[in-house]
Amino acid sequence: MEIFLDSIKNSIYKFSRNKVSIIGFFMVAMVIIVAIFAPLLAPYPKAAGAFIDFSNASKPPSRAHFFGTDVVGRDILSRVMFAFRGALIMGLGVIAAIVPFGVLVGLFAGYYYGTWIDTVVMRITDIFVTLPALLLALAVASFGRPSLFNSMMAVAFAWWPFYARLTYSMASSVRNETFVKAAQTIGAHKAHIIFKEILPNCLAPIFTKMALEIGWVILVGATLSFVGLGEQPPTAALGTMVSDGAQYLPAQWWISLFPALAICFMILAFNLLGDGVKSMLSTEVL
């Protein structure tokens, strides 16, 4: 227990040593809080729904509308706040869905390294890896009716192989370690060896990858929205807002700019946080 507590203290210390990671942590916390409490925090919550106000259309940033309004008079700041919800669901949801699957595939293939199981599973994985993730996601998403759920499924479909590959490379190496051999010698069950001996020793790089990739998943989700394959109107989605606003450049620059900056902000936040997680889980001796 004491060792565990020491380990946590050590990790927190490592994380806190990285100042930009702290900034990232607060940025992510801010996004989450804004997303959860958007109906309370947004200055014009109606703007996130089926709402039109042509008398306020295309207003530049002002005190009344910090980010301006779009071409049908909706407050852009309010819509950005609500759009954080979809972006977070995309980032966290996809990672939460694909990691268990990808890790399982990689673990089994790694444990059965050199057998036909390894060959079949990893060649299938390789086929997925060779296809550009964004293109694959676009292709899959275009099959169904555009929605957040379908775009999440599409991204998940394209992303899991990277976790399978990472876990496979770790597991196929760990399986030859002495403690694994020892467990096998004493007749431990395969499930015990895979989940209790091999898996814990693969987790650090997996967690690091997860933390670093949430931002990228959000970006791919925004790209799907940009081309009309994500959330549909009137639901606010950052990619859709950038795409819609792009039609009115350069005169109504604010319609695209602020949602685009919001995407940058989220990706930066998760990347900074990811860097902190990476240093926290590193084996650097302090």
Partner: protein
Amino acid sequence: MYTKRLGRVGVVLVVFLISALLLTFWSSSTSTSKTGAYTAQPTDYTIHTTEDWPTYIDPAVGNDFSDSIALLNLYDSLVFPTVQGTVKPSLAVKWGLSKNGLVYTFTLRHGVKFHNGDELTGEDVAFSMERLLTIKQGFAYLFSPYVKNAKATGKYTVVITLKKSFGPFISALPRLYILNKRTVMAHIVKPGTYGAFGDYATKWLLTHDAGSGPYTVQKYNVISDLLAAKFAKYWGGWSPNAPNFFEESASSQPASEYAAFATRDLDITDELLPLETYQSMAKLTGATVVTFLNGHNLNIMLHTKKPPTDDVHFRKALAYVFDYNAVISSIYPGSVQSKGPVPATLLGFDPNLFHYHTNLQKAKAELAQSKYANKLDQYPVTLSWCAEAPAEEKVALLFQANAAEIGIKVQITKKPFGSMEADATNIKTTPNASIVFVAPDYPEAGAMLSVRYSSASAGSWEQCEWLQNSAIDKMINDALATADQAARLKKYYAIQAKIVDLCPTIWVMDQAEKRAYQSAYVDWPVGDAIKAGKTAVGSSVMGYNLYAHDMKVYPQKRAELLSGS
């Protein structure tokens, strides 16, 4: 030894260069003398416009906005529509009608040349009509129910015999574009769909023309643009400053069109841009934005065979809840609310027709009578709008917000026009609501009524309602078969009343078309007339406001504008 070899190489090089020069000279001189196709000069100017895409330049295939613009510039027809809604002689200098109203005899203009130099004769006119009727695409639907056959009775005479009387036949004739029979026959590929005529040269005519119009295809990129060169031997003659080339390209993002317009690479924009873009363009030096009623209307077509819009009360609820004023004041300023299916500028429009207006109470009352009133959550309304017309998104969002006021959910999808066309071909894939601009194919109410509501046009982009109502079909056929104009107009009135009662469409507005053009160096008859305050009406016939032959360009003025002098 080395000097000798060098000498031989030099001789070969000189011979090669002389041969190349001779070949170049020969090819350029023959292309001009044989066909009359214009040869590019350094001072040439290409008038550049944009429109929705794809564009089909085969007269037996094309029938939408961009097709119409291309066809009218590449081909001639027997008559030409006027801004006043009538027609004037074109290839036909005169015509007569038999006493029974079924046989039209046309006398053709002498000396009209096709782009390859052949003379246009009655044989070509008869061939063009037969080809259109056989292929059954494009504007064939205007003639198929009525035309029995077309025969050349002399070199300059052609007789078209009808199966039954068709009152607006002459008004519809601008849509019969005349092809060179010899050219078409030379490019037929066998075997094909059309028996002895193989593929009827449809493959070749996808990228080439066989016309006699003022311009001839120079280069055609199916994906994005058409470049046509002036036909020097055009029978209609040329004014000194007429554009030497005419380019029609696919509409792009408003920001891209703005950039092209600002750098003077685009001379006349399409009519599909959002208001904000036109406002930005109007601020540019030497640019003018014109607005004119063009006989087109904007429709929200409601699928009458798909739940929940298969219920007439549900449709009426949507018609009553829609905010028409918001559209004409904030999205398409200058337009007017439509009164039924026929634009007010067309002959046969009924000014006393009942029309739906925004009334929340009536909307609720109609919805209460609908069989879906208590199941609204189970029946969302699917709606598509055209990606090439960005302003339509505002209409879609307005419709969604208005419908939400009475608890109706609307699922909006942005689709390229090509996808909307494809969806419209199948009763299952057509959405509940489609936002579509429609223009008449000839300047009379019958054009709109038949193309929009007869069963024959169901499954086309012009009728996403799938009305398929036999009573309406009968009434339309009867009206179109009525030769007496006054009687025909009365019948049009009755059809309009019947259709309005069925409410298959939300008739949003009669469009005030907006286009920005480079008035500093382009003379565009429609734009110049409006700019001078002479008239606020363009041609009611789809595409005919972009007739490049009547335009003039002044490249020197453009250069001055670009240099800032």
